[in-house]
């Protein structure tokens, strides 16, 4: 269990917990020929650690946001932008949003799936689904 007071910033205090998406230890990332652009992103695990830090600092909503981010980290840009567009007002029917929720579950993003379902329920109430 992380201690926000002791372990943050992770990059300086707990680099041992961090690695790149390709599995390189954080401490070994250096500007050389062998590093790849794919190394230079946060992993879902790192984002979950940051969510833990936020929760430990009594910021539950920020933590939830970072959990959703962790789930989205390995989802391609285009898919993310499609979901964003689907969530905009009057873009999607209830069924379409439900399909995105199911897809997000399949992609290992249950929090985002629940989030989309909650949106769909309110959109129906407020008349901002596609007709």
């Amino acid at each position: 269990m992380l201690d926000a007071n002791r372990d943050y910033p992770l990059g300086t205090r707990r680099p041992d917990l961090l690695s790149s998406p390709t599995g390189r230890p954080f401490q070994e990332l250096a500007l050389g020929d062998d590093v790849d652009r794919a190394d230079l992103r946060a992993t879902p695990e790192t984002l979950r650690l940051q969510a833990e830090v936020a929760r430990g600092a009594s910021r539950p909503q920020l933590a939830d946001n970072l959990v959703r981010a962790a789930e989205l980290a390995s989802i391609p840009d285009d898919t993310i932008l499609e979901i964003y567009t689907a969530l905009r007002p009057r873009r999607s029917t209830a069924a379409e949003l439900e399909a995105w929720a199911t897809r997000l579950e399949e992609l290992g993003a249950p929090s985002n799936a629940a989030f989309v379902r909650e949106a769909a329920a309110v959109y129906a109430e407020r008349g901002i689904l596609a007709v």
Binding site: A42, L62, L81, V116
Partner: protein, 745 residues
């Protein structure tokens, strides 16, 4: 003159302030600052652990914002705690140093938007400032810069970003005139910022899809383009919902981008859908939603609608209340002050003080590093012209508002290195070259008009290539490392590594030059009264008070190598001749000091007075009074020695009078207190008048010029010169006669 009007009223109508409209509140259009007649009465009902009523509306009547806030933003336990407290009690807690910030933040999780607005509305301006100081999330304030130019010249963008970084801005935002330029502008400020100071966060304000791509390529590290609004209609008209915005925020975070939302009073009224609610209430809804969405922060305080909010009574106070609300909700606050608030310099700076003095996470959401001409964010409330004002006001108040003084040679060097680094990357990527001429002009120019036009068609093709080939921050670092910019390369690589650690996603995060993230997690504001929290002191205070244009007081007044222009003859005796006029000079005259406050050499001044006396038929004698540096006593002592009873008294700084022996020391015939406006001709006239009085003629007083700024301009110099003269005083020393030393001897 026109018969009916007051010339003063007419004149005032022409002044800057009157270029804006001030209006009576119009609540039905949302043009009311706070406590609008249509704002709902606060309420928050929790049943079975969930919110069922919010600000007078039951679930079935909720709009999307109510749903979102109720579902994600309210902590039922905190609601129970808060419901036991009255509005007054909560308001007092906001300004009570013994109530910790943590407790207030916890309580804020149990308050409805209407209650939040009502409670902060109980605070007066000073209380609001105090609450803001106490509630700010990060211990130390910081600032954000805007860097743009109308030609979208990359060398100039890089140079300006480097200067912003070197001046201590923690974040730099750019934008585009033409959106296809975005990758190049983002690249230029990335290179510039990391040249100026490693660790500065950068963003390029463009449409979300493009912004995400820039983020993905590691060219930007934060975004604050996520706007939210306080009514459902405006929100939906803006083509978003709370869920779409929150999802976007998570998407940015998933790409390692720090995000803050944007909201601010007046936007709903501007878009015609305020539901007749007050600005502060609608902003409380926005902020409740921002926190519910899990944003670490917000830029708020009206932002681009600031001039609209300032049109209604209490507007400046409302904007400050917005910032306080955001801080109370535990959000990082970038507190506006970026859009032009008023034509009036006085008025806009009066507004600024609300954020400047308490300090916010970012005192401005964008200080225009460049002159206004090149600002593409709509002008810039404060810009390059105002930098020294800002630095001086920091020094005046001993307040850190996030900008550091840097001397010109240092800045020129930093700007040049950044422009050269950009030139190297452009060359490495095969982009249209940045010429040496562009670099040189970018370093020294006033604005982009001084630079040659670039081939814009070729530039946008290069920008397209950046996206198509997915040139990344890593590629930039490698290009710089290969071309002799190893330190800049390492700094840019370090920013890429920050994305891996993602520490800067926490609340109020900035990155220090050592690469260590500083946020509300590891450096929280724990202000609890005097002697606690952040204070501008020690080395930082020394740094912020040493402005490049402060002067060494010890060097004033006594020019190096000056030689004395009088020599002392003997102790003075009483004169006998009725036409004798004494010129009595101060203890330092022509010796320790050799020129007046406006730079007239003492020998020339003395010669002019002597000439004047002789022209009018008098016989001058020069005497040094050593017992006093006060012009009244110098003059009166001189008069007592004068055969005619009349003397000219002259201090070394140039202040003069004409005195007569039968007058009281503090009386005189004529006083010339405005030494800075005296010319050699004035001194000659003083000599003539003194002789006229001595010879019993009718004398017209010497005309004097009134300069109302003389005191402000010269009071320091006056003090130092007078101190120098006073240092020469010998209370027991008798007057001595002087002879001018011949010029050239």
């Amino acid at each position: 003159m026109p018969s009916e009007r007051s010339a003063r009223f007419e004149h005032r109508e022409e002044l800057e302030l009157r270029r804006e409209l001030l209006i009576e509140p119009l609540p039905e259009l949302g043009l009311v600052a706070m406590d609008g007649p249509n704002d709902p009465a606060p309420s928050l009902v929790v049943e079975d652990g969930r919110v069922v009523e919010l600000d007078g509306r039951r679930e079935q009547d909720w709009d999307a914002l109510d749903w979102f806030v109720a579902r994600y933003g309210i902590d039922p336990e905190a609601a129970a705690e808060a419901s036991a407290l009255s509005d007054d009690e909560l308001a007092r807690m906001l300004v009570d140093v013994d109530v910790p910030r943590e407790r207030l933040v916890r309580l804020s999780r149990g308050l409805s938007p209407a209650r939040l607005a009502r409670v902060v509305g109980l605070l007066d301006p000073v209380e609001l400032m105090f609450a803001l100081k106490k509630l700010r999330a990060r211990r130390a304030p910081a600032n954000q810069a805007h860097v743009t130019n109308l030609k979208e010249n990359p060398a100039l963008l890089a140079a300006d970003a480097a200067e912003a970084a070197a001046r201590g801005f923690a974040e730099i935002e750019t934008t585009v005139g033409v959106s296809r330029y975005a990758p190049l502008n983002a690249l230029a400020i990335l290179i510039g910022s990391q040249t100026g100071r490693p660790g500065v966060l950068t963003q390029c304000a463009v449409e979300e899809r493009l912004n995400l791509r820039l983020a993905y390529q590691g060219l930007v590290t934060y975004a604050e383009t996520l706007s939210v609004y306080g009514t459902e209609t405006v929100f939906v008209d803006g083509d978003d919902t709370p869920w779409s915005k929150a999802f976007l925020a998570s998407a940015y975070a998933s790409r390692g981008v720090k995000v803050r939302f944007t909201s601010g009073g007046g936007s709903e009224a501007l878009m015609g859908e305020s539901e007749g609610k007050s600005m502060l209430y609608l902003e409380a809804r926005c902020l409740s939603l921002v926190r519910a969405a899990g944003s670490q922060g917000v830029q708020n305080g009206s932002i681009s609608c600031v001039a609209l909010v300032l049109s209604v009574p209490g507007g400046t106070r409302e904007i400050l209340a917005e910032n306080v609300l955001a801080a109370w909700l535990d959000l990082e606050v970038a507190s506006g002050n970026d859009a032009i608030a008023s034509h009036s310099q006085i008025r806009k700076t009066a507004k600024l003080m609300g954020q400047f003095l308490p300090g916010t996470d970012f005192v401005t959401s964008g200080y225009s590093l460049m002159p206004r001409y090149d600002n593409m964010f709509g002008g810039g409330n404060y810009d390059a012209d105002d930098l020294e004002e800002w630095l001086t006001i920091q020094r005046d108040w001993q307040v850190d508002a996030g900008i550091e003084p840097v001397d010109e040679p240092t800045l020129l060097a930093v700007r040049e290195r950044a422009a050269r680094a950009a030139q190297a990357v452009w060359e490495a990527f095969g982009f249209p070259p940045i010429t040496d001429e562009e670099v040189e002009l970018a370093v020294r120019c006033q604005d982009s008009r001084d630079l040659p036009d670039r081939d814009r068609a070729a530039d946008v093709l290069a920008a397209d290539r950046m996206l198509a080939e997915q040139l990344s921050g890593l590629d930039v670092a490698r290009a710089l490392a290969d071309r002799g910019f190893g330190d800049v390369a390492e700094a840019i690589f370090a920013m890429q590594k920050q994305r891996v650690a993602a520490d800067y996603l926490q609340t109020s995060a900035i990155v220090g030059p050592d690469g260590v993230v500083v946020s509300a997690v590891n450096d929280p504001n724990r202000y609890a009264g005097p002697g606690t929290g952040y204070a501008l002191e020690g080395e930082r205070w020394q740094r912020l008070q040493r402005l490049p244009y402060t002067v060494d007081a010890r060097l004033l007044g006594a020019p190096e190598g000056a030689t004395k222009v009088v020599e002392e003859l003997h102790v003075s005796n009483m004169g006998n001749e009725p036409d004798e006029v004494v010129v009595a000079v101060g203890p330092a005259f022509g010796d320790a000091l050799t020129e007046t406050i406006n730079g007239l050499p003492h020998d020339a001044v003395l010669a002019a007075i002597l000439d004047g006396i002789r022209e009018e038929g008098g016989t001058p004698r020069v005497v040094r009074i050593r017992r006093s540096s006060d012009v009244a006593f110098i003059g009166h002592d001189g008069a007592l020695l004068s055969g005619s009873g009349v003397a000219v008294g002259l201090q070394s700084k140039g202040t003069a009078l004409i005195h007569r022996a039968d007058l009281q020391p503090l009386d005189n015939l004529e006083l010339f207190g405005m030494a800075p406006s005296l010319t050699l001709e004035s001194y000659r006239q003083i000599g003539r008048n003194a002789a006229g009085y001595a010879l019993g003629r009718a004398v017209a007083p010497v005309p004097t010029v009134l300069d109302n700024y003389a005191r402000a301009k010269l009071i320091v110099r006056t003090t130092l010169l007078h101190a120098r003269e006073t240092a020469e005083v010998d209370r027991l020393a008798p007057p001595v006669d002087l002879a001018p030393v011949a010029v050239g001897v």
